[in-house]
Symmetry: C2
Subunit: 281 residues, 2 copies
Amino acid sequence: MAADGRTAAQNAQLALLLEVAGTPKPGNVDREREYDDLRFEHFLAGAVGALPGLERAAAGEPVGEAFEHAVAGMSHQRGGNTQFGALLLLTPLVGAASREELSPDGARAVVEATTVDDAVAFYRAFEHVDVAVADPPAGMETLDVRRGAAAEDAIRERGLTLADVMETSASVDGIAAEWSRGFPRTFRAARSVEPDDGPLTTRASALFLALLASELDTFVRDRHGHETAVEVRDRARAALDGSEAPDALADELVSRGINPGTTADLVAGALFVGLERGLAV
Amino acid sequence: MAADGRTAAQNAQLALLLEVAGTPKPGNVDREREYDDLRFEHFLAGAVGALPGLERAAAGEPVGEAFEHAVAGMSHQRGGNTQFGALLLLTPLVGAASREELSPDGARAVVEATTVDDAVAFYRAFEHVDVAVADPPAGMETLDVRRGAAAEDAIRERGLTLADVMETSASVDGIAAEWSRGFPRTFRAARSVEPDDGPLTTRASALFLALLASELDTFVRDRHGHETAVEVRDRARAALDGSEAPDALADELVSRGINPGTTADLVAGALFVGLERGLAV
């Protein structure tokens, strides 16, 4: 039982909800902006459905299976991929928290303990929902995550654990990078939401903008190319230094369909760490 | 397992979240309006915390205890009373749904089966959070709900079940009236959110306005008096017929601190019934 009477799984669910409630978060669905086919209500239903999978992670079940279960529950709404990346980030953190080791080392230990079965379950998770990902490198087509369960033989032949799979993508995917490096951006970001100064959703929005300005969003890069990812990062910097209005930037990015999902996932992860450390709501 | 893979308890949690996400809902916290000390994030945390109590109701545990547990979980945030009334409405409905009898008769059967222990647990729930209620009638001071567990002897002496307690308040409290009459407004309202025509949170907002225009909100009457409750009802009618702008009315009621909580509770109840009947998110 964490601070404020919530379990680690409940704090992860609350982190998902607080993340989507932060506004403005340029390009993302938030309380005041949504896409016709990806709405605020889809994120609410995603957070409701994900809880049983998060509870499995908290109970010490294998990370891969817990994640797949969370994604399956999340997918019970019509918006499609609402929180796939956020759940991928949260699942090992919930596992670490339930062992009372919510630290970079504790999270790293959860990652290092993953098995080939975890990798297979991770691939299966892609069958529940369409996820935008980059094409695999040449020669790695049999390991394309979009193959889902069909990739099982290729995974087992190579003896890849889920940690190995993440390592392969760490240079191109922001969440895989967190997995492979002890979740440095997540833990650092958690500190920035901890000061108890006003609505938590306002702090979540400020954190989103700071993270967006600090590195390229890999979800934007996969879907819209490197140049757009650079533009988004630079304009987030302009919003931070006051030379661009965050609300106008948010409206524009939504109208262009540019949704910095990886940055939102990091916000959810940071909120979770904060809540576990006693952040009051 | 209900439609879309959600359990009855999960649908109740989702109903709480969809209710608060509907905007505008004149006077209530919604996605675009909040009070300094009662914010959107408090409702999110309330819905997260309430789930274990709702799961007890779904498991067939006594309604009073399940409700008290839900309220205790809801109270783990700093906004105070976020969803007390909504949980009071939802708990027997979840109980009925889990018996596959989610109908006026099924809900009535759950109410009629309540015991003196349920009444005692209901009173205990008032210890977890401050709830605005009317003073009890003369001679009934020992049964003031605000006495919490201290009222136990008075309840047991009189042999009052929770159904009896609700019957006593049915003429002055909108939720107690639902309990005592087979939840007529809730089931009727559920039909109005069922047509699959656009965002569910928009339908929730439209339903809120229609309910507010149809009867006096008893929470407003308790806190602000009969005259204000009449004004709110009449202005909701004006908003419905187009002679007043709903958003401006919402801003004004929030600035005056007039929060039609009972009407919001009914919306949550209606959304739950709709979700159980297959309303897609």
